[in-house]
Symmetry: C2
Subunit: 163 residues, 2 copies
């Protein structure tokens, strides 16, 4: 029983996505993550995609997997094959009934004004722009499945707390 | 527009919880996270709790917030006041209809056999024990709101990839 829970690592968050091509493009091209590796599960007819902010994706599959399962801040996207071909198919984003529970993931950016201007130019859907509501220092955008992504300026750069 | 998305940080994942006392006890006592800070939002009648794996919680509120909003691997629990007093109230965990979408969070442990034995002794609810199904190297437990938490052995310690 000599396991030390204080040494555990919050490794990843998993969300299901309808179309991995669209989602990966969003998380890589818009949000700047890197696709590290994937696992195709033939028996269950699903594929798992692992993304994270890393400077460099290792070359060997072994190193990719070691990295994916040792660092915090990994995003796992699960694709159940075929959902992308069903026009009516949609996952719940967790923020409305039925299905309220999960809220969002949050990404720290270097300059929130410039980051939001860039999202606008990339035609990203906004849930809350900086100027909306009372909290002028955060924004919410939506990923392709309408999961919310909170955008916060990194206080380690600007030296202030955002909330 | 000189914002560099590759430098962004996947900071936190937010889930709503029915009773913060019960949830914080689970994430702190069972899973070993530390409660870093909280934000009471009087106007919206909700409180946000920020937890993470850190060696030490800073003393000043400013340092706590800087830490919370600069590191990856933070868990944000949102408590809408009063839900804990409604016996029938429950959030969707994302893994069944209606409300399927969000899947789970995952925690890396130092020794998965010992970690699971400890969870058993603490009467934690298992979704999948190590011996269940075909994937003998991972387990799933449930948090107090029935959100799934995947348990994986940290390959940076044992030197192997878990999937």
């Amino acid at each position: 029983m000599s396991t030390d829970p204080s040494k555990y690592v919050f490794n990843h968050t998993m969300i299901r996505v309808k179309d991995p091509k669209v989602s990966i493009k969003f998380y890589v091209d818009v949000l700047g993550m890197k696709l590290i590796t994937k696992s195709e599960m033939e028996a269950g007819k699903f594929t798992l995609y692992f993304l994270a902010y890393v400077d460099k994706v290792p070359e060997s599959e072994e190193e990719k997997r070691k990295l994916c399962f040792s660092m915090p801040g990994v995003l796992e996207l699960t694709h159940n094959w075929g959902t992308e071909n069903d026009a009516d198919f949609a996952y719940a984003n967790g923020n409305k009934e039925p299905g309220r529970g999960f809220g969002h993931i949050a990404v720290l950016v270097d300059d929130i004004q410039k980051a939001c201007e860039r999202f606008e130019q990339l035609s990203v859907k906004f849930i809350k722009r900086l100027q909306d509501g009372s909290m002028k220092h955060i924004a919410f955008i939506a990923d392709p499945d309408d999961y919310w992504v909170e955008i916060i300026e990194n206080p380690s750069i600007v030296g202030r707390a955002p909330i």
